[in-house]
């Protein structure tokens, strides 16, 4: 088990290296010039050249990348061009909010998605099944900014159950987490439904019924633990999907997380922040998958660690 985790962590480091290179290269090729943003429109060519030299942006690509990598290995993510703050400090101050939002979203999508999926599977082919699958289809296809604005309008503006935006209490968390989770709950309900239908057809379910077990026990003790196995791996992939959604949802709800930070940085071509957020996201995705794989290992005794 430890050998497996060690091997996976080494692989993860290589993945992060690849991500850093690709992102850095893309930003280098990006037509917008960060120096113009910093210097402002009225700056003289000398000022621009000065700033460029100061930031090291006049160096060739390879030198720039290796310098960034060298700093990175020492734990230095660089300094924001515009905010004049350490990127590391910025991310650390924003990360808890985003992690909280993601945790809320995962809970929300699992609760909604799994429940819907299980009910649809049991009531397969009925009106309940059909309506649930229509709901999940809407969840999958509705754009997050639309869902977010709709939830805001209904539950914050009209019903006044939840605050319109901001951060701090549990009620602040509900709407953004639901918005972020609805997409995933659509996927989970569909996956759970088909996984559950598949499992309910298996011989061991018939064996369980032949033992004389009640419906509930057959469902929750025998079917569910098997049906959930393919879902566990999905949760790891989900973390990656969240990273995209977080940028939108945090902007809509004014949630002070790294999504908002990234959005502002992209608008201002603040390369060190973009790089930092990208690497942190990649870390989250890689770790999310690792955790999901370990969870699969623990949940399924048939998987052997090699």
């Amino acid at each position: 088990m430890l050998a497996f985790i060690a091997r996976r962590l080494i692989q993860s480091a290589l993945i992060l290296l690849g991500v850093s290179f690709i992102t850095f290269a893309l930003l280098y090729l990006f037509p917008a010039d960060p120096v113009r943003q910093i210097a402002g429109r009225s700056a003289t060519p000398e000022t621009v050249a000065n700033i460029r030299a100061q930031l090291g942006l006049d160096q060739p690509f390879v030198v720039q990348y290796l310098r960034y990598l060298g700093n990175l290995l020492q734990g230095d993510l660089g300094r924001s061009y515009l905010q004049k703050t350490e990127v590391g400090t910025l991310i650390v101050s924003r990360l808890p909010a985003s992690l909280l939002l993601m945790a809320g979203a995962i809970v929300c999508e699992l609760m909604l998605g799994l429940t819907m999926g299980i009910i649809a599977a049991i009531r397969r082919g009925t009106g309940t099944d059909n309506s649930l699958m229509i709901v999940s289809f809407i969840g999958v296809s509705a754009p997050q900014f639309v869902v977010g604005l709709l939830l805001l309008y209904v539950f914050a503006v009209q019903l006044r159950w939840f605050p319109i935006g901001g951060y701090g209490t549990f009620s602040h968390l509900v709407l953004p987490a639901v918005t972020l989770g609805i997409l995933g709950s659509g996927w989970y309900s569909r996956m759970m439904r088909s996984s559950m239908i598949d499992v309910l057809r298996q011989d061991y379910i018939r064996t369980a019924r032949a033992k004389g077990l009640g419906r509930a026990r057959v469902l929750f003790r025998h079917a569910l633990p098997n049906a959930i196995l393919p879902i566990i791996a999905m949760i790891g992939i989900d973390v990656g999907i969240f990273m995209g959604g977080i940028v939108v949802v945090e902007s809509v709800f004014g949630w002070p997380g790294i999504g908002q930070l990234a959005w502002q940085a992209i608008q201002r071509v603040d390369i060190p922040i973009i790089m930092g957020v990208t690497l942190v996201s990649a870390c989250a995705i890689v770790l999310g998958n690792l955790v999901a794989d370990i969870a699969s290992l623990l949940a399924d005794p048939r998987i052997k660690v090699r």
Binding site: A3, R7, D203, T207, R302
Partner: protein
């Protein structure tokens, strides 16, 4: 000799014993598009205490549905009991509410299923699954239930029962899993035990053990046993009374001795005639005068198992370990052995589907391992697999499937390929218009004929038939085997026939090799191996085959199941090679420790 004299003592007792289950005019139907289709019609029978009733029939006869109906486990909502009654004690099971049925299921009427590999929950420990079955019906503490579970595991003759409790199903062999399922079923001493093809998925020696176990258990506990099977050998050994079904209707019912000695109905007679029988071993019809068609020398196939941080090879599966044999032109060479003995791996290595070491000569030339050499060889060697449904692409027309080998090898044009496919269909007994249909429109036997036609398309010199008739009903099996024999004579081919079924091998093979753990333990002509078996393993295999003869007296045995021997070895510790010694005219036997 009267019927009563042939019956076993248990059956005589059963004749007077009280009726525990009484099925009357049972109709089972399925709702489908365009109406209701009957699956079982007017079935009536009684089951007496302590009696073993065999329900025999081929697929689609309704025998499994009958057992599911008794358990109240018919797949809802489409399949249902349309009429009739199933009286257990003083209640009609067909009219009982689900919660009341649950109380009977598993405690008064228990069931054992066909496929032990999938019958147990893969993510739940054996012990938990047993304890759960006990506690569903009796108010036991966890500890008391555990003790009872251990008793049950001992009763089904599993070694190390304590350890089994904490194991997961995948850690046990198929035979051991089936014992666990049986333990679960008998733990509460049911009045009726229904066994639906309980040994069909098991190896023959394991089948023998499980059958002995079931017989002993039902005798010791006075449990009435309903045994559902297609295997007339199993029927002959196990049953007191037999009920033969065909297409949902009871054809004949009689005491076992009477049924086998004087079957009344034509269907029963045909069914019994189609059963392959042992003891008819044949002399090799081909004398190995010519150069062999296939010559395999010291074939080794191993799979590496990697582990550790660096992913180094730590152990190896020795699937095939130094196998040597020849197949002569026009000969049927059979590999027999139980699952995991390496017989299918040899076929895969021969066709280049898995890499191997050792020399393989085909028609005098060493087979290369390059893709081009393999491609050329594939024209001479074709395979027929076990499951014809899985072997045919369901989205292609069967005509296209049969013509595909010709397309791949660039032979002929559209018209000539079509003509070839038509000729092949004529030959294997299918109509020409069938060429434009899809695989799901055919029966199992017809599908296997399609696979045979496809294998013949290239006029190969060798056909590798890997368990090619194992999935078919006996009557279909017999006709497919006849077809294979005719084709061999007509087309001058050789067969490498791979099977676990000793009776079929004895009937079809010219020469035989018996395999165990990747090595040949005995080889010779069919008559030598089956008529004069020398190795203890060969004898065990032959003795284990159930004979379709109820008067045969069975020796008393009580074999305990423990972990099977494994072909997995640490690196640097290869298995000991068995030395074969000759006992006369091509009959080779491995020396035993």
């Amino acid at each position: 000799m009267t019927t009563q004299e042939i019956l076993s003592p248990a059956a005589q007792v059963a004749g007077e014993a009280p009726v525990v289950l009484s099925v009357r005019d049972l109709d089972i139907s399925v709702r489908q598009q365009g109406g209701v289709k009957p699956l079982v019609i007017g079935l009536t029978f009684d089951l007496r205490r302590g009696e073993t009733l065999a329900i025999a029939g081929e697929s689609g006869s309704g025998k499994s549905l009958t057992s599911l109906a008794i358990m109240g486990l018919l797949p809802p909502p489409a399949v249902h009991v349309a009429a009739g009654s199933i009286i257990f004690g003083d209640v009609d099971l067909t009219k009982l509410a689900e919660t009341k049925l649950q109380a009977i299921r598993g405690s008064r009427i228990a069931m054992i299923f066909q496929e032990p590999m999938t019958a147990l929950n893969p993510v739940m420990r054996i012990g938990d699954q047993l304890v759960e079955a006990l506690r569903a019906h009796e108010p036991l503490s966890r500890q008391a239930a555990r003790t009872r579970a251990l008793e049950a595991l001992r009763a089904v003759r599993l070694t190390e029962p304590e350890r089994r409790l904490s194991q997961y199903p995948h850690e046990l062999s198929g035979g051991m899993r089936q014992r666990v399922v049986i333990a679960m079923a008998i733990a509460l001493r049911p009045d009726i035990l229904i066994a639906d093809e309980p040994t069909t998925a098991l190896d023959v020696t394991v089948q023998r053990e499980v059958l002995d176990l079931l017989r002993d258990l039902s005798r010791d506990m006075g449990t009435a046993l309903i045994l559902i099977t297609h295997d007339m050998g199993v029927v002959a050994e196990m049953a007191d009374r037999v009920l033969v079904m065909q297409s949902g209707v009871m054809v004949e019912t009689a005491a076992v001795g009477q049924l086998f000695s004087a079957p009344k109905q034509a269907y029963t007679q045909a069914l019994l005639a189609a059963v392959p029988r042992m003891g008819q071993g044949r002399e090799a019809s081909v004398k190995p005068l010519w150069r062999p068609l296939v010559s395999i020398r010291d074939m080794v196939v191993t799979y590496d198992l990697k582990g550790g941080i660096l992913g180094r090879t730590q152990s190896r599966v020795h699937a095939v370990e130094g196998v040597t044999f020849d197949i002569h032109p026009g000969e049927t060479f059979a590999l027999v052995g139980e699952s995991g003995c390496g017989k299918s791996t040899i076929a895969r290595a021969l066709t280049g589907l898995v890499p191997h070491q050792g020399i393989v000569e085909f028609d005098g030339e060493t087979l290369g391992s390059t893709p081009a050499a393999r491609f050329a060889a594939s024209r001479q060697m074709q395979m027929i697999f076990q499951d014809p449904m899985a072997a045919l692409n369901g989205r292609m027309r069967v005509g296209d499937l049969v013509m595909e080998p010709l397309v791949i090898h660039g032979i002929g044009d559209v018209a000539s390929r079509r003509a070839r496919a038509e000729a092949l269909f004529d030959r294997v007994g299918l109509t020409r218009d069938a060429l434009d249909r899809y695989p799901h429109e055919f029966s199992g036997g017809q599908r296997q004929r399609i696979c045979i036609a496809r294998a013949l398309a290239l006029n190969p010199k060798l056909i590798l038939a890997d368990e090619s008739v194992s999935a078919l009903d006996v009557s279909v099996q017999a006709s497919v085997l006849d077809l294979l024999a005719e084709l061999k004579a007509e087309m001058d081919m050789s067969y490498l026939f791979i099977s676990h079924d000793m009776a079929i091998v004895e009937n079809i093979a010219d020469r035989v090799a018996v395999m165990f753990l990747g090595q040949i333990v005995e080889t010779g002509s069919s008559a030598q191996v089956f008529g004069n078996p020398q190795h203890s393993y060969t004898r065990r295999l032959i003795d284990a085959v159930p004979h379709p003869d109820p008067s045969r007296v069975l020796p008393v045995r009580a074999v305990h199941a423990s972990d099977p021997p494994s072909p997995v070895r640490r690196v640097g510790d290869p298995p000991k090679r068995l030395a074969l010694r000759s006992v006369g005219s091509g009959h080779l036997v491995a020396s035993e420790a």
